[in-house]
């Protein structure tokens, strides 16, 4: 999958979540996503950025514009070196939360995107990748 643009952003403080939203919006507009799809992917990015900050103890996001078979899309990879998730299936369920959110973060973000993958194990941190295609 060729990547035509890559941006990196650290997620260290609560303001960074806003910056992730703005960056995601910018890339979504560049790719030409419709307004509803833009809003969906920006909201998903917001959820995941907050997870990275609150549960992962901070980390970074790699935001890319990708191309595949003539379609363009936005791909975001959130990485942290936090405690990791022991039971991923459990974490994806609505209502599951170990913190102060509504427990819709992971499952909700998954529903808002075309692609979703998560790699995590206790002690090694978490890596979540999402993509939304035009």
């Amino acid at each position: 999958m060729p990547t035509t643009k890559t941006e990196r952003l650290g997620i260290k403080i609560s303001d960074d979540v806003v910056r992730v939203r703005q960056l995601t919006r910018m890339l979504s507009v560049e790719v030409g996503l419709g307004l509803v799809d833009q809003t969906k992917v920006v909201t998903a990015a917001s959820e995941l950025a907050r997870n990275t900050l609150d549960y992962g103890g901070g980390g970074e996001v790699i935001a890319e514009i990708v191309e595949q078979g003539g379609r363009r899309g936005v791909r975001l990879t959130f990485e942290d070196k936090g405690p990791g998730i022991a039971d991923i299936e459990q974490a994806l369920k609505d209502g599951f939360t170990s913190g102060r959110g509504m427990g819709l973060g992971l499952g909700g973000a998954k529903r808002l995107c075309n692609e979703f993958s998560i790699v995590s194990a206790p002690g090694t941190g978490t890596k979540v990748t999402i993509a939304r295609w035009k």
């Binding site: 806003v18 939203r21 809003t39 909201t43 917001s46 959110g101 819709l104 909700g108």
Partner: protein, 129 residues
């Protein structure tokens, strides 16, 4: 730290959110509104989110909390002006904010609050009879 201004309109409070809120700002708004409902003896709270391009679960939870707290303090919270794309996304996210009253714009929201007040005043009058 910046705070979102709260305006007083008769016995209602009006908040117009015009910035992309970070989480601390949202939490501060929740606290400010709670104390203003009590200090102003407000009977209604209008939250205008027509400028918001994104409402995620955190802001959603804030709206839900404000509605719940205001209910306890005998005030109605009406969220007005949610954009279609935001509404679709919130539903997809799994947040339907069932405890929150909604209206298309500030005017309608204000009318809802007044209707309820008129209704409760009529009830009070009935009680006195």
């Amino acid at each position: 730290m910046d705070r979102i201004p709260i305006l007083k309109f008769g016995n209602a409070l009006l908040v117009t959110i015009q910035v992309d809120m970070h989480d601390r700002l949202a939490t501060a708004l929740e606290e400010d509104l709670t104390s203003r409902i009590v200090s102003n003896n407000a009977r209604g709270v209008l939250i205008d989110i027509s400028a918001l391009e994104v409402v995620d679960s955190f802001i959603g939870r804030m709206l839900d909390n404000i509605a719940a707290v205001s209910r306890i303090l005998d005030a109605d919270t009406v969220v007005v002006g949610m954009r279609p794309a935001v509404a679709i996304t919130l539903v997809e996210l799994g947040l339907s904010l069932t405890g929150v009253k909604t209206a298309l714009n500030v005017e309608r929201g204000m009318a809802m609050i007044h209707d309820r007040l008129a209704g409760s005043e009529a009830d009070d009058a009935d009680d006195e009879d």
